[in-house]
């Protein structure tokens, strides 16, 4: 069999095992949370009988091990269960499945992550290459200074500053990014512009500096010196000789940042009121809507595992040495 396929299959198998382990950890940690859904939703004014009746109706009275296997069994069949919150009178009518709650939120998150990645990845790769090419020049120093500044400032601060300048003082963009499923595509892009820009400012530095460092690291190798001695132009040395060997570290850092865009942007979501999955998870933790929390946590774990897998594959494919370990 093709060694790439074997490696990928091995990695996928390991990923599934990791996910199972993560599911146990998620479930155990949620069990350890103080308070429970019934008293959280019924609030200060709940009597013990009301709480007990509520727990019976959503199956919280069963022992944890039973509930774990019921849950994981459902997940394996693609059924994440029903949200506790909608078991009450919420939901505008019928009980909502976790999938129907997460679905639109996840697609919003992926839209924002994709939009941000579409600007940030090419931008940071280009900046990184240029900075490596013109190392220690004014350009290199400026790019480093600016990106380090933006990464050092907390993202909510960047977000507020952008909002103040681009939405309040000069109303170019919207201060609210409250998109809904029937928002037209171009309005959606315009509404998500501010969160995308603030996230971009946060992640560009990481990717750009990693690209620059990976290339510069290689520039000291003998084969690069050889290429230079052959009389190749600096741009060709970097693009044709250094870059192919730098894909592995670059791929890893890009994957990490993409994973961050999916799982870690709750602050930007809150500031711009973007209905993404991070906000849903935070709300669900506060409300103890356990099926939703579990599903979100599992999705986040999946995003990390998948993106790391992709980075590994990129690394292996671009570096044949890794395919034939001795």
């Amino acid at each position: 069999m093709n060694p790439i396929v074997t490696t990928v299959l091995q990695r996928v198998g390991l990923g599934v095992l990791t996910l199972l382990a993560v599911s146990v950890i998620i479930f155990a940690m949620i069990e350890m949370l103080p308070g429970d859904f019934a008293s959280a939703i019924l609030g200060q004014t709940a009597t013990p009988e009301t709480v007990a009746a509520f727990q019976r109706s959503i199956g919280l009275d069963k022992p944890p091990v039973t509930r774990y296997f019921e849950w994981i069994g459902g997940v394996l069949q693609g059924n994440f269960g029903e949200s506790f919150s909608s078991a009450g009178a919420l939901g505008g009518g019928h009980a909502k499945t976790v999938a129907s709650l997460i679905g639109p939120r996840l697609s919003n998150t992926l839209f924002l992550a994709g939009f941000t990645a579409l600007i940030s990845v090419p931008l940071s790769l280009a900046l990184g290459l240029l900075a490596a090419l013109y190392r220690n020049s004014i350009f290199d120093r400026t790019v480093n200074l600016v990106t380090l500044t933006t990464i050092s400032v907390p993202e909510f601060f960047v977000a507020y500053i952008l909002m103040l300048i681009l939405a309040v003082k000069f109303p170019i963009f919207y201060s609210l990014a409250n998109v809904s499923p029937d928002t037209p595509f171009f309005e959606r892009v315009a509404r998500t512009a501010l969160p995308a820009i603030s996230l971009m400012l946060v992640i560009v530095a990481h990717m750009m500096r990693m690209t620059r460092a990976a290339i510069i690291n290689l520039l000291a190798s003998p084969y690069i010196e050889m290429a230079k001695l052959k009389g190749l132009a600096p741009s060709s040395v970097i693009l044709r000789h250094a870059l192919p060997n730098a894909w592995a570290p670059i791929g890893t850092v890009v994957a990490l940042n993409l994973a961050y865009l999916i799982v870690g942007v709750v602050v930007a979501e809150v500031v711009f009121v973007y209905p993404g999955i991070g906000q849903l998870m935070v709300d669900s933790v506060a409300a103890r809507d356990i099926p939703v929390v579990q599903a979100c946590a599992l999705l986040f774990a999946m995003a990390y595992i998948l993106l790391n897998l992709l980075a590994d594959i990129v690394g292996i494919v671009t570096n044949p040495r890794l395919l034939h370990p001795r």
Partner: protein, 401 residues
């Protein structure tokens, strides 16, 4: 809507298997039945002059009855001024005008959308950039800047809601009324209003009945910060100094921890040493409230004396957070409930408020204010103080100019 719908809807909250938060409100109903299509007959266990007011509770909505005369609450169909257009929990609720609303000519809006903007800066920016027309809970630290905005009106309103530190009156040392009095005199409420709530609250006088409620009185002597009186009551209790703990978390109300620390500073001057124990917000209502002898609490308030007292001060009430058992008070509570002579009721409720003030275990600190802002494009009549958002009826009562 028919009488059958109303019966089914109320019955939904009754019975042993009810999960309703309004279960205790409808517990007094022994029988409810429809008398023709337009009348409902409700039989109560005992007289209750305030029953009509209790029926205004926001849990008791009317949904259609199914053929087996149970309530079809899942339908999302109600009798309110709007119907669902789109509802995304935690994000927004978009509503369309209900053409069949029972108040003719109302509501005035064709469409309203409620957005969950939890971040106060985002909320303020949305209002100032014209994306929204109304916001509740302004940022008290920056509201003076918001007031300068030409397009925005800020209003503040003292409601029925209050913040309190309830003591368990069955646990030493709080079982001694002089200790309770000493603690009530040992706090500078005005200082708390100024420093914690930045002026957006009204000093309370250990009476949980807001001044705007019918039969409310302001009991004397007023409990103001008085070190000498605190020391006097401590001596009456046979103590020269006192050491107590208070368990608080900001889950009770925003600023509860800071309030307790400030209380500690005030009380120290009277020889009372308060140990402030900071509890996690998570699980506060399960593990601390009604469990620890002294903690923090908030009440949204109730529109009648009877309702408030029955919920939180009557002997045996599930949320009698002070575990207060005062025979005279409980006797008056029952008498006043079925008394229809206005003068007699007023006297009874005045006496009860005096008892809560003098003997009760709750240090009622402040009545908090609702601070909201709206675009000048919106207009409104008199604003209800029962709840925020014009008694939760903003979408029905307000209009665009």
């Amino acid at each position: 809507m028919t009488a059958a719908d109303a019966v089914a809807s109320i019955q939904y909250h009754m019975g042993a298997n009810s999960k309703s938060a309004a279960k205790s409100l409808v517990a007094a109903i022994t029988d409810i039945k429809a008398d023709g299509p337009n009348n409902v007959v409700i039989t109560l266990r005992e007289g209750s002059a305030d029953f009509a007011a209790i029926m205004s509770d926001y849990h008791l909505v009317i949904s259609p009855a199914k053929s087996d005369s149970t309530s079809d609450w899942q339908s999302g169909v109600r009798t309110g001024p709007f119907v669902y257009d789109r509802f995304t929990p935690g994000v927004s609720a978009k509503l369309k005008r209900n053409p069949n609303y029972h108040r003719s000519g109302m509501p005035y809006f064709d469409e309203v959308e409620f957005l969950a903007l939890t971040d106060v800066a985002a909320r303020t920016n949305a209002l100032t950039t014209g994306e929204t027309h109304f916001m509740s809970r302004c940022d008290l630290k920056t509201v003076h800047l918001l007031k300068r905005n030409q397009n925005v009106n800020v209003y503040e309103l003292t409601g029925l809601g209050h913040y309190a530190f309830p003591m368990n009156t069955t646990v030493a040392p709080f079982d001694n009324v002089d200790v309770r009095k000493a603690l009530k005199y040992a706090v500078d409420r005005q200082d708390i209003v100024n420093k914690i709530f930045l002026g957006y609250a009204a000093v309370a006088n250990d009476n949980p009945i807001a001044p705007s409620i019918r039969y409310a009185i302001d009991p004397l002597p007023k409990h103001v910060y008085d070190i000498d009186k605190a020391k006097f009551h401590l001596k009456q209790a046979g103590l020269s100094n006192l050491k107590v703990a208070i368990n608080v978390a900001d889950a009770a109300f925003n600023g509860a921890v800071d309030t307790a620390v400030l209380y500690k500073e005030h009380a120290a001057k009277a020889g009372i040493d308060i140990e402030v124990v900071r509890e996690p917000n998570d699980g506060y209502w399960d593990k601390v409230w009604l469990k620890k002898p002294w903690c923090a609490t908030y009440w949204g308030g109730r529109v009648t004396c009877d309702w408030m007292f029955t919920t939180a001060y009557a002997e045996g009430a599930a949320w009698n957070e002070t575990f207060w058992k005062h025979p005279k008070f409980n006797q008056l509570l029952l008498q006043a409930r079925s008394e229809t002579d206005d003068k007699k009721r007023a006297d009874m409720y005045a006496e009860m408020q005096q008892l809560v003030h003098d003997d009760g275990g709750a240090v009622v600190l402040v009545f908090y204010k609702y601070v909201s802002a709206h675009s000048k494009k919106l207009a409104h009549g008199r604003i209800s103080s029962v709840f925020d958002l014009d008694g939760l009826r903003i979408a029905e009562r307000w209009w665009l100019t």
